[in-house]
């Protein structure tokens, strides 16, 4: 078999995609711009900050050529606020994703607009949601992967001891995993055609993908004959009063 995996990304593949997120670093040595396949890297002149993809930032950090600036949402105050929002304010749904980068409208004070029309197609991991300019209090799509990578390799760059951030992250993972599990119980009544999971993270999706898609497909297959009858009735005209007829059709 060329690719024996079922459809959908595995956790390792999700981590691979998450490594393309941009993060801010503070270089410790000068480095010229390198010509990569995805464009030129910015010139590194300490102490000016630069934005690099996570995989390159981790490489530089391991060789002690740079320090990584943790994104604002990873700060304990921001994490505590998010945990509060997840548990108290909105116990059903996940907390909202970060808003896209925008700027104040020059002629209409109080209104913001998108940075450029061509940015409308950017989505994670190409949105700058893990740099030092990202908004605090929102969890980006790849929050778990980026947080784990930064804690593992750049724990000394955190403003507080890494243990504190780690325990807050564990709490957050628990809360959201509980929500994911309870949302699967909603699937049992997956009568409607669609279900929204606004704000869910990449790793959480990857972990529960097999189960959730299995349940949805199973419900669809079990209810296939019921659905077919329902569609035939709707097509034949909704004003039918003869309900007994459908019972006879479904009969043995």
């Amino acid at each position: 078999m060329a690719h024996p995996l079922p459809p959908g990304l595995t956790q390792a593949e999700v981590a691979f995609v998450a490594e393309m997120e941009l993060v801010t670093i503070i270089p410790r040595q000068r480095l010229e711009s390198i010509d990569l396949l995805s464009g030129k890297t910015p010139v590194l002149r300490p102490p000016h900050r630069a934005e690099l993809p996570l995989w390159l930032a981790l490489l530089l950090k391991k060789q002690r050529r740079a320090n990584i600036v943790p994104p604002p949402w990873l700060h304990p105050a921001s994490l505590t606020e998010i945990i509060l929002r997840e548990t108290k304010e909105n116990p059903e749904a996940f907390s909202p994703p970060p808003p896209p980068p925008s700027r104040a409208h020059p002629r209409e004070p109080g209104r913001a607009r998108r940075l450029a029309e061509s940015d409308a197609d950017i989505s994670p991991p190409f949105q700058p949601s893990c740099t030092a300019a990202a908004p605090a209090g929102y969890l980006p799509y790849h929050w778990l992967e980026v947080a784990e990578a930064l804690l593992a390799h750049a724990g000394d760059d955190m403003p507080v001891p890494a243990g504190e951030v780690r325990s807050l992250l564990r709490d957050l993972v628990e809360v959201r995993a509980a929500k994911m599990r309870s949302s699967t119980s909603q699937l049992e009544g997956f009568g409607g055609g669609l279900m929204s999971l606004r704000g869910v993270g990449a790793m959480e999706l990857a972990e529960s993908r097999g189960f959730v898609l299995g349940v949805v497909d199973g419900v669809r297959k079990i209810g296939a004959s019921a659905e077919a009858t329902r569609r035939e009735e709707e097509e034949a005209g909704g004003g039918r009063h003869d309900d007994d007829e459908s019972d006879d059709d479904m009969g043995i």
Partner: protein, 221 residues
Amino acid sequence: MDIDDILRDVDPVIHTIPREKRDLQDLTRAWVAERSAPELLHWPSDGLFERINNSIRRQIEKVEEMTGDMDPKTNFALIVIQTELERFKYLVRSYLRARIAKIDRHTLHYLSSDELRSRLSEMELAYATRHQALLHNHYLSSFLSSFPPGLQNLNDTAGNISMIDTPDLESAVFIRLLRDTLVEGRGVDSDGRLEMEESDIVILRWADAKPLVQLGNAELV
């Protein structure tokens, strides 16, 4: 006049995403979509893979040149270039393997109509036809020739049941919306329609999600 308009007049490049970054984003999106969709998607028609293959080849040549250069300053640049090259090659390989797996599973289906054949690239089409011919010859020589001649057809459509396996187009997928759109989904007990906002993640049947993905209003996740 808006500051943005002034800037755009002076330097039209300033607000557009550079070509290489857009290629990487397209490649990643194509890879994620191909890995998540239950059926084969269209081969990118804007020459994306030709460009990427050429740049990979040029980069490999550059690496070979730099390896011969014993200067310690280029050593680090070499490591970075090689790491990124391996990441790109992994993406391309995984994308091609996902497509070949789908073609293998339902070869006759993808060779059956012109619209489906147009989704394959030329090399994939050649592979599919030759692979199917080989399989057919193998079956013929092993057991098919001993069947009665009326039952020897591998793409038999008589008797209301087609012998060709088709992929299940109604399986569920996750999509992320790129714009605010109206999303309609068919379900067992009722059909749902909701106005969804950007960056919503929705569980949907692939047959309902396909028009959204093709228009560019949503992407597979």
